[in-house]
């Protein structure tokens, strides 16, 4: 294979990079927020907040909070009464001058981490966040071992017995007995 650098690049390195890219994307997955493209928004018919900045903050928070009744949806997308309650509470807190983080903390204090779509980074969730990268690292290490072993025994993956036969045949022919041909 080392005689054909182009082919090696195509067959070995290109797929490796593709897989790498895929795993990197997956590694970021815990941070992705569904619905943040802004497609579905089930706000109340009358806007809760007059001020444009406040309304924008509320909108962002709504996408970050999970509707616990219909759990795949954010509070922004859900039509349930629970989502409505959360929206109103968040709107009230924005008007009272609380920060986004204070509002998130308020919700987590009552409902637990599950109400946030983006799981917090703490000792319990290190594995969730780091897992994909950890698996990638393990995969690379294993691959490294395999490649190093391959290199020691020669690029061609044939057994030692076959090596001997080849050497013997070449020796008969008067060649150098070198297994590089």
């Amino acid at each position: 294979m080392s005689d054909y650098p182009m082919m090696k690049r195509l067959i070995v390195q290109f797929p490796m990079i593709a897989v790498l890219a895929l795993v990197m994307t997956l590694a970021v997955a815990p941070a992705m927020i569904p619905g943040a493209g802004g497609q579905a928004h089930a706000g109340s018919a009358v806007p809760l907040l007059e001020d444009a900045d406040h309304a924008a903050r509320l909108r962002n928070l709504e996408y970050e909070l999970r509707c616990l009744v219909c759990q795949a949806e954010s509070v922004a997308e859900s039509n349930s009464e629970f989502a409505d309650d959360i929206r109103r509470q968040a709107a009230r807190m924005i008007e009272d001058g609380m920060t986004d983080q204070q509002i998130r903390d308020f919700m987590v204090q009552r409902y637990g981490d599950f109400i946030l779509f983006r799981p917090p980074v703490n000792t319990t969730t290190y594995l969730l966040w780091g897992g994909p990268m950890l698996l990638l690292a393990i995969g690379l290490v294993v691959m490294g071992f395999i490649m190093m072993r391959r290199r020691k025994s020669g690029d061609v993956g044939i057994s030692n017995a076959d090596h001997e036969r080849a050497r013997a045949l070449l020796a008969e022919r008067g060649g150098k007995g070198d297994d590089r041909q």
Binding site: L68, E81, Q89, R110
Partner: protein
């Protein structure tokens, strides 16, 4: 020895399958409460039957008590209500009702039909007290100890099985200490 190495991918697969299998039996509707082990949130609500009176978290201090979140519009509450009536009849534990996002008249009428197992009922019209307790559906039931700490939360209607296996033993244990 090399043959053992070939078992490693199989081993990894089995481990992952194990985790996935456990996941199949988990119920995402059962969200663990972060309030277990923490003091019961304070509240002060009008009593359902008499708005001139209030019921507060202080009323039950020194006793092991149960907080039951219910509403007349809640269908599954009907399943557990007879159990609550029984608990009250046998004086097992004082039960405080949290009437959640319900119209006063509707709740009073409903209780008249099903029986009233509560020593007191707080009328949580806008659901704010419920939110402080992390309520996201009905019915939900909390067991609170004599020091005012929440020790257990049950989501959904209680069954005879749950009462027997989890709740009654816990109540007995808390009442003895």
């Amino acid at each position: 020895m090399t043959s053992l190495r070939y078992l490693i991918p199989l081993g990894v697969f089995l481990v992952i399958s194990g985790f996935l299998a456990v996941g199949l039996f988990l119920n995402p509707g059962q969200i663990p409460s972060p309030l277990i082990g923490k003091p019961a949130p304070e509240f002060e609500l009008q009593q359902l039957h008499d708005p001139r009176q209030v019921v507060t978290h202080r009323d039950m201090a020194g006793q092991v008590w149960m907080l039951n979140v219910f509403a007349s519009w809640c269908v599954t509450c009907r399943h557990e209500h007879p159990l609550l009536v029984e608990l009250n009849r046998h004086q097992v534990i004082p039960i405080v009702g949290l009437n959640y996002k319900d119209r006063r008249e509707d709740a009073i009428n409903w209780l008249r039909g099903t029986g009233n197992p509560y020593v007191a009922i707080g009328h949580d019209l806008d659901g704010r007290v419920g939110m402080d307790y992390g309520v996201y559906g009905t019915p939900e039931t909390y067991i609170i100890d004599a020091q005012g700490i929440i020790r257990y939360k049950h989501i959904g209607p209680m069954s005879g099985d749950v009462l027997e296996k989890k709740i009654l033993p816990m109540i007995r244990e808390l009442q003895q200490s």
